[in-house]
């Protein structure tokens, strides 16, 4: 899977599953940058067949509706959609 890394403060493993065309995904990414958190993201729509399927399996594991953005923190906690307050709280800001 193609992961893009954004540097910042280490707050555990922060993985953002996003679509390259989605407005709320872009807002979520901007918020994470604003918070200065280190994270990885992938644009699932730009992945090819098998890779895309694998990424969707991951997304659905945390978010059965398979929607975007899905933010996964430490492989445990997930935040679905651009929930600004929840995202800020998750990183204690």
């Amino acid at each position: 899977m193609v992961l893009e890394h954004v540097d910042g403060k280490n707050r555990g493993t922060v993985m953002l599953y996003a679509l390259s065309t989605c407005g709320w995904c872009a807002k979520t990414k901007d918020l994470l940058r604003e918070l200065g958190i280190a994270f990885d993201y992938t644009y699932v729509d730009l992945l090819d067949g098998e890779e895309q399927n694998k990424a969707m399996d991951q997304v659905e594991k945390f978010n059965p509706s398979g929607s975007f953005p899905t933010l996964v923190i430490d492989n445990r906690k997930s935040i679905v959609g651009f929930r600004e307050r929840e995202i800020r709280e998750a990183f204690g800001t």
């Binding site: 065309t21 407005g23 709320w24 730009l46 969707m56 509706s65 398979g66 975007f68």
Partner: protein, 175 residues
């Protein structure tokens, strides 16, 4: 898949025509112009890479018959505007949000997940048999626009929905 670039001019034109169609159909577009333009860029990108304007906030399969429900405006727009004040992407909003009296909050996904989707064909067949038992013997079939709910009794659905401008392939046999 390599990223597709869309020009600002293309976005201008698509934005203008979308606004016009929305106004004519009684719909409102988000007052956040930059957000709207980004979504429209997404719609145009999808048109280039898939051949149809799949919802920018959902993962399209690239197979049109599987994605018909999420060709913009999607089958879920009206219900989401009704329940949440905005469509899933928040491109279309209700009056309160359009006039800045209320903010958009995240809209939960209404589309069934991959595993529960079934084919559009299967859904249409179900609708026909359910209706047929109750109202068999009608002289003409009744077609329903999946986008806006418009109904008409005729041999074939219209080429374009007179209410919301959805294309013929968005109609299902209702009765």
């Amino acid at each position: 898949m390599s990223p597709v670039e869309i020009s600002e001019g293309d976005i201008d034109r698509a934005y203008a025509s979308l606004k016009k169609d929305a106004a004519e159909g009684g719909y409102r577009i988000t007052p956040d112009t930059e957000f709207a333009r980004n979504l429209i860029r997404g719609l145009l990108k999808n048109e280039v890479r898939y051949g149809y304007r799949a919802c920018p906030c959902r993962l399209a399969s690239g197979k049109k018959d599987e994605d018909l429900d999420i060709v913009c405006p999607c089958d879920y727009r009206d219900a989401d505007i009704e329940d949440h004040g905005a469509c899933y992407c928040a491109l279309y909003v209700n009056e309160e949000i359009a006039e800045g009296r209320r903010k958009v909050s995240p809209v939960p996904e209404r589309r069934p997940p991959r595993s529960q989707r079934g084919t559009p064909g299967a859904r249409a067949v179900q609708t026909v048999s359910a209706g047929a038992t109750v109202l068999g013997g009608l002289p003409l079939p009744v077609w329903r626009c999946r986008v806006c709910g418009y109904l008409c009794a005729r041999e074939q659905p219209p080429g374009i929905c007179p209410v919301c401008k959805a294309k013929k392939d968005r109609f299902e046999r209702f009765i």
